[in-house]
């Protein structure tokens, strides 16, 4: 057995680096092991980071992060055929302290965050895959160490934090993942497109350090999911998020849905004449709270995406903030565990602390929303209905007289071929799940 650490953190993403920082501050000797050649080399995200959560971990983050643009415009765009209805919110104040959302390139952000862990004395080990977790033998075995892909030796440690991301092979192998997690995975595919920074400013109507986030519903038919388009400094990222179930069922490719979105007349003008510089794919656990699985066992803490800590609900798309908070809590607990301060109650205490945090509270409150967002009324009926209604209201019918709102709505419902009662029920259910 080689070097002994108190805590080994698997994965130097937002959750892993946060865990490493809090564990090190708690007095632990920490190794942060990343399989990419640098932190962020394997990371993919879908839009905006909300980093107020960093106030308690890296209070100076606003001056330090390698940001692309501060988000000051948030659009929700509902597509149907060649039309779209957009709800848009612009807040110039989001471009100033204390800010709201920000875009970063993950290769930059994750490397920056891991460097903050290094400043706390954490050993960052890159290009190394953790392949197994070893336990002491005995009646109540706790962690003995981890084995690495490039070494026969076991790296000894007293506690492990698994922040290995959505696919979570180690948590799966240790039986910690929820059996239903794989049923609630979506596939995100994304392109990064190069554009001149001033072109981005002009097309999106923002100054050079401010940006736009567009969340997209509809336009993916027959697939189920959503899309997004957001601005970086000199690139824009456009992507779709597709439910794996629908991918399997329809046998239509995710990248085809991405092309559909890119060529929609409401999207295309934003990205035309750009040069593609990267193509990415990543799974997203959308089950939320109900898919968190076993969060801790025998000194192994599961955190971040591996514990389904994402909130992917159309109007709220968050994940990095949840990963950071959950990772920070996991790091604190792992330290205390490694000091032998916990007995049998360790698992419950970690779960309780997660429940008390905004991560647990939000994910629990919205636990029914993910499946509603992917349901047929929201995915199919709502886009058609909204677009048909908007079209009948705003299309002038001269010389025919105007038909009035009620008749217009009635006609839109009829044209959209919508069953009224189930739709109203579904919309109420949606509203209820977001209450």
């Amino acid at each position: 057995m080689s070097t002994l650490y108190d805590v080994v953190v698997v994965g130097a993403g937002p959750a892993g680096s946060a865990a490493a920082i809090t564990a090190a501050r708690g007095g632990s000797k920490v190794a942060l092991i990343e399989r990419g050649i640098y932190p962020g080399a394997k990371s993919v995200y879908g839009g905006v980071m909300y980093l107020k959560v960093l106030d308690r971990i890296v209070p100076t983050w606003r001056e330090e992060i390698p940001f692309e643009r501060w988000i000051t415009k948030r659009h929700t765009m509902v597509l149907d055929g060649s039309t779209s209805v957009t709800v848009s919110y612009h807040d110039d104040g989001w471009g100033r302290h204390p800010y709201n959302g920000v875009t970063c390139l993950r290769s930059n952000f994750d490397s920056w965050f891991a460097s903050k862990a290094q400043l706390e004395g954490v050993d960052l080990i890159t290009a190394t895959t953790v392949v197994d977790v070893k336990f002491h033998s005995g009646s109540n075995p706790s962690v003995m160490g981890v084995t690495l892909s490039n070494s026969d030796q076991t790296v000894g440690c007293r506690s492990v934090v698994l922040a290995e991301g959505a696919l979570s092979p180690l948590a799966d192998r240790l039986g910690l993942s929820s059996p239903s997690k794989n049923h609630h995975l979506t596939l995100g595919v994304k392109e990064v497109l190069k554009l001149d920074p001033s072109t981005i400013d002009e097309r999106f109507g923002v100054p050079h350090d401010q940006g736009v986030d567009i969340e997209i519903l509809g336009g993916l038919s027959p697939l189920v999911g959503g899309g997004f388009l957001y601005t970086n400094r000199d690139t824009v990222s456009v992507g779709v998020i597709i439910s794996l179930e629908s991918l399997k069922h329809h046998q239509v490719r995710a990248e085809y849905a991405l092309e559909q979105i890119k060529h929609h007349p409401s999207i295309e003008p934003f990205i035309k004449d750009s040069m593609q510089v990267e193509y990415l794919a990543h799974l997203i656990p959308e089950g939320g709270w109900r898919d968190r699985g076993t969060l801790m066992k025998q000194g192994v803490y599961v955190t971040g995406e591996a514990a389904s800590s994402t909130l992917a609900l159309g109007i709220w798309l968050e994940g990095i903030n949840y990963a950071i908070e959950m990772g920070a809590i996991a790091g604190e607990h792992a330290t205390r565990y490694s000091e032998g301060k916990y007995g049998d109650e360790a698992s419950r205490q970690y779960e309780d602390d997660i429940k008390r945090s905004f991560v647990g509270k939000n994910l629990k409150k919205l636990r029914f929303a993910p499946e509603v967002v992917l349901s047929n009324p929201i995915q199919r009926t709502l886009p058609i209905l909204l677009n048909k209604t908007a079209s009948s209201i705003f299309t002038v019918t001269d010389p025919l007289p105007k038909s009035g709102l009620i008749k217009t709505l009635y006609r839109a419902i009829k044209e959209a071929n919508v069953a009224v009662v189930p739709t109203i029920k579904a919309l109420l259910k949606t509203f209820w799940s977001f209450k």
Partner: protein, 113 residues
């Protein structure tokens, strides 16, 4: 290489005969950084795959790395894998795929992310 690409679908909501300009996957992946491993991190078990009729991997892989070869077997190119895990999750045959992350920092290395 830009090619015209069409896809039809029996779903009635789906617009039939829609034609869009489609970038080939070769071109789409050509700007990614890959540090190719000497050995594949995903291994396809042909004896299991040959009995599979669904072949979801072929349609689902977002990098189009699974192809049906002339003899009916599954061809797989691990070199441009994005390591997303879609094939592993959607594959319905136990043991058909031996799936590991690449070692030593190999595989895809995103510069933007």
């Amino acid at each position: 290489m830009i090619q015209r690409w069409t896809q039809s679908c029996d779903n009635d909501i789906y617009e039939k005969d829609s034609i869009i300009t489609y970038v080939s996957m070769t071109e789409r992946l050509s700007n990614n950084n890959f540090f190719i491993d000497k050995t594949p991190h995903i291994i396809v078990n042909q004896s299991i795959c040959s009995g599979c009729e669904q072949r979801t991997c072929i349609h689902a892989c977002p990098a189009e790395l699974f192809v049906e070869l002339h003899d009916g077997s599954i061809g797989f190119n691990y070199e441009q894998c994005l390591e997303c895990g879609t094939c592993l999750i959607l594959c319905s045959k136990d043991g058909a795929l031996t799936w590991n992350y690449p070692n030593d920092g190999r595989g895809v290395s995103y510069r933007y992310g």
